[in-house]
Amino acid sequence: MAVTDDTTRAGGIGARMLRKEDGKLVTGEAEFVDDIHAPGELWMGMVRSTVAHARIAAIDTSGAASMPGVQSVLTGAQLADMELWVAPLPCAWPVTDDMVNPPHWPVATDMVHHVGELVAVVLAESRFAAADAIEHVIVEYESQPPVATVEQAMADVDHAHLEHSTNKAYTWAIDPDPDGTQAAIAAAAHVVSARFVQQRLIPVAIEPRGVLAVPSPMGGDITLYSTTQVPHVLRVMVAATTGLPEQKLRVIAPAVGGGFGAKLNVNPDEILAVALSHRLGRAVRWTETRSEAAGSTHQGRGQIQHVELASDADGKLTAIRVKIDADMGAYMTLLTPGVPLLGSFLYHGVYDTPKFSFTCEGWFTNRTPTDAYRGAGRPEASYAIERAMDMLAYEVGIGTDEIRRRNYINGGEPFEMWENPAGLSFDSGHYGPTLDRALELADVAGLRAEQQRRRETGAIRQLGIGLCTYVEICGLAPSRALGGLNYGAGGWEHATVRILPTGKVEVVSGSTPHGQGHETSWSQIIATKMGISPDDVTVLHSDTALSPLGLDTYGSRSLSVGGVAIAMAADKVIEKARKIAAHQFEAAPEDVEFVDGSFSVAGTPSKSVHIQELGFAAFTAHDLPDGMEPNLQEQVSFDPPNFAFPFGTHVAVVEIDEDTGGVELIGYYAVDDCGNQVNPLIVEGQIHGGVVQGAAQALYEVAVYDDDANIINPSLMNYLVPSAAEMPSIVTDSTCTPSTTNPLGVKGVGEAGTIGSAAAVINAVVDALRPHGVTDIEMPASPMRVRRTIEQADGGAS
């Protein structure tokens, strides 16, 4: 789609418009779940397991129950007897027919399987009474040996669930020609074999999770306010889990302060709040504390990756073989088993390879469940292939840019509908220019000269330069493709567009923002489509009563599925309006033109009517064409025919103090291609945040568990989320290769930064340490780890 200067100035598609919603968000006017209160509300105080794997021998609630302000204390067994739910918490993605899926009840009854699992719930008149009371619930545990690591799970000596004789949950593979892959590796001139660890990460949205369920005892309705990314999915799942009638449930996600995947689950607290409020006839609420989140909210990553690359003498890939051991944690939550699979299709990255083998085994451990976290499977895939490609470059003896050029799909030239070896069809791509531009933007030639100078002078602070060219899958998803993957839902998105009697426009969005700026972007799409001001558009969302149909926001799907649905609904409104205009002009609709918001008969521009004026005509319905229904409102459910595949090249520049091991990220250059951009300012914001989240995995963040599977750094004092002070000023640019599979030509950008940056940063760290003979370093590359790596490579201690 061509973007003209006129539409850009008018705040249409392509305009760098400031976000409409930010005023509300930054002044405190917007209401978050914790800001909303209901009369008579009770606070839940969560009694959580302090051991990773145990039988619950006894729970003494008497002391807590008699404390002031405590309404009741309910153990898991008591809650089970109350028959508050009819099914365990859902896993919507049983990836294989024989996948092991231990029942996951909202509150444990006899066994606990991870630290932080609920064992009892206090109901109290205040948050403070609840906090005091949970300290007086005495739980007696009979400990069982915990499975604290994936390696222990694979050893299968101790079992995370005693009723299962193996910790393995499933095996899933894309392996069309295993013998061919093996033969290619055996015959290769160069083989790289690497093992990478994707450490567990704690998703840290600025707003913690929380719920408030408000019942209507006479009407039987329940309104659930939740810090969720997925109000529509949640409504279905709460109904299915509690057995309460779906039409009586209303789910509202008010202002939501970030999610990054951690708010797309169906959580025990949500089920408890709804079920207890329904049973008690009183509102029930809860807000997690930051440290509590390490056990109450799912974690991300958690994989061990084995990657083999085979190439000919020139470094041209002949085979890629990947084996993943993925840490499910203690239970299968909503998407747990599928997360590694979202990466499975991308382990060849942006490279053409004749042979491709992928196998993933899922393993249970006695740790907090894992699930989607920004990128969900694709950052892991991108990291593995991009780290391994650097290793191959060294092996072949060519530059890290050259190894990429030699292997890009279609030689780095433009392509459409390329069949990848995992069975997907890449919509469009053009990888070469992103690399060229990134190298230029970062002045990599100059940096290499400076690196050489520092190496020759033995400088304390050494320089490292890292590249990553990523491709990712956005636009989840064609419903049929999801069905083929055993996914328990479709991938469409719904939109309604209506012109009100006064000519203003309401858009009802099925996809739900939690910081992405939907209200602005959707207004811009309408502005371009209808030729009106974005200020005349209001976007309604995130409330199942206002927006009954939708599949919500995750997997960078909002624009390429939901935004397209909005554009299509706008087109339908325009077509209906054209018929009304034609009726007024006494002309045939096909003779009526629509330009800059106005309809006119071709060749008679003096007689025209603006689309906003037609809102009143459609409302009064005094003079509509015969048989036409009143009102200008249309809706669309858009099921995308394909995924979208954004890509880009990032360059990270690090400085390493070799004496201390401290790594400073001193430069970051991102050239991304997400197809057409609706709002380049929002695109840049997504890249900035995403880059920092990936760099955080590379340098700072790791959820550390001890031998007993206790998490030892659940607080922000020792779980190191970096701040702006640790980050360079990120330089961005873009190329534009429109998607061929949707009418807006858009691809998605919410996760791209994260998918590109961890590999770029670690490639830079390893590049800096290369003179010591260092070939790899585990994430996060902490100062102590970097210093130890140097010492070990140099063959002596400090």
């Binding site: 906090a131 440290s291 201390t660 550390v704 020792n718 701040s723 100062p783 102590m784 210093r787």
Partner: protein, 273 residues
Amino acid sequence: MIPAAFDYIRATSAEEALAALTEHGDDAKLMAGGQSLIPLMRYRLVTPGVVVDIGNLDGDLRGISVNGDTVRIGALTRHTELEHSAELEATCPLLNHVASLVGDPAVRHRGTLGGSLAHADPASDLPAAVLALGATLVARGPGGEREIAASDFFTGFLESVLAPDEMLTEVRVPVTADGWNYQKFNRRAQDWAIVGVAVCRGGRGVSLVNMGPTPMRASAVEEAVAGGATAAEAAAHAADETDPPNDLNGDADYRSHLARVLTRRALEAAGFA
């Protein structure tokens, strides 16, 4: 993150605060800026029955004045006031600089010098600075005031010689405008030091952050310097007689290594050959 219940007294004078301490003894905690006490209370690691808030007291307890070769700083002077004091920059730039590295701006706008010293956290920046400077601390109790040398003040992990019924009122540091340095090594700007080293050339003071249960002087380094050792030679002794902690940011060996690296850098930057 919800503290246990406590009684709250907002003192309107030092005398009233001291009277409350006398009355409640061990059950009471003084709170100045609250930047150390409140997090501990929120984790319920400390559960005082009474919190005596002295954060609003003023007068002699707050502010910076120079008298001859001594800089006098009220115990309730906030980090941000130290950080932005032109007078302090001219007379004791080490303290001025170290204050600018404490926590983040929000912490520095609440936290106080006296509070940081009384908390006696070995990972804090300001205790190391007063040790290197050879400061004198003034405490007031029911029996009146007493002076305590900074090097005698810290006795154990989060412990000092302050009696339960005493409060810090003043810190006196010698005017030391030349030859100083502070090396703070951390991973994020707002974090505590993994290891820190403060050097004051005039008093030949060298002190260490996070290398043992208390803020400590690097005595072996000070002796080596006094004996004419080079910076490199002296720094090799930085980890002598220390007992560094093991945590996620660094084990004892790594901290010892850092102490040697940072001490050498600090000594050289402070003008030792």
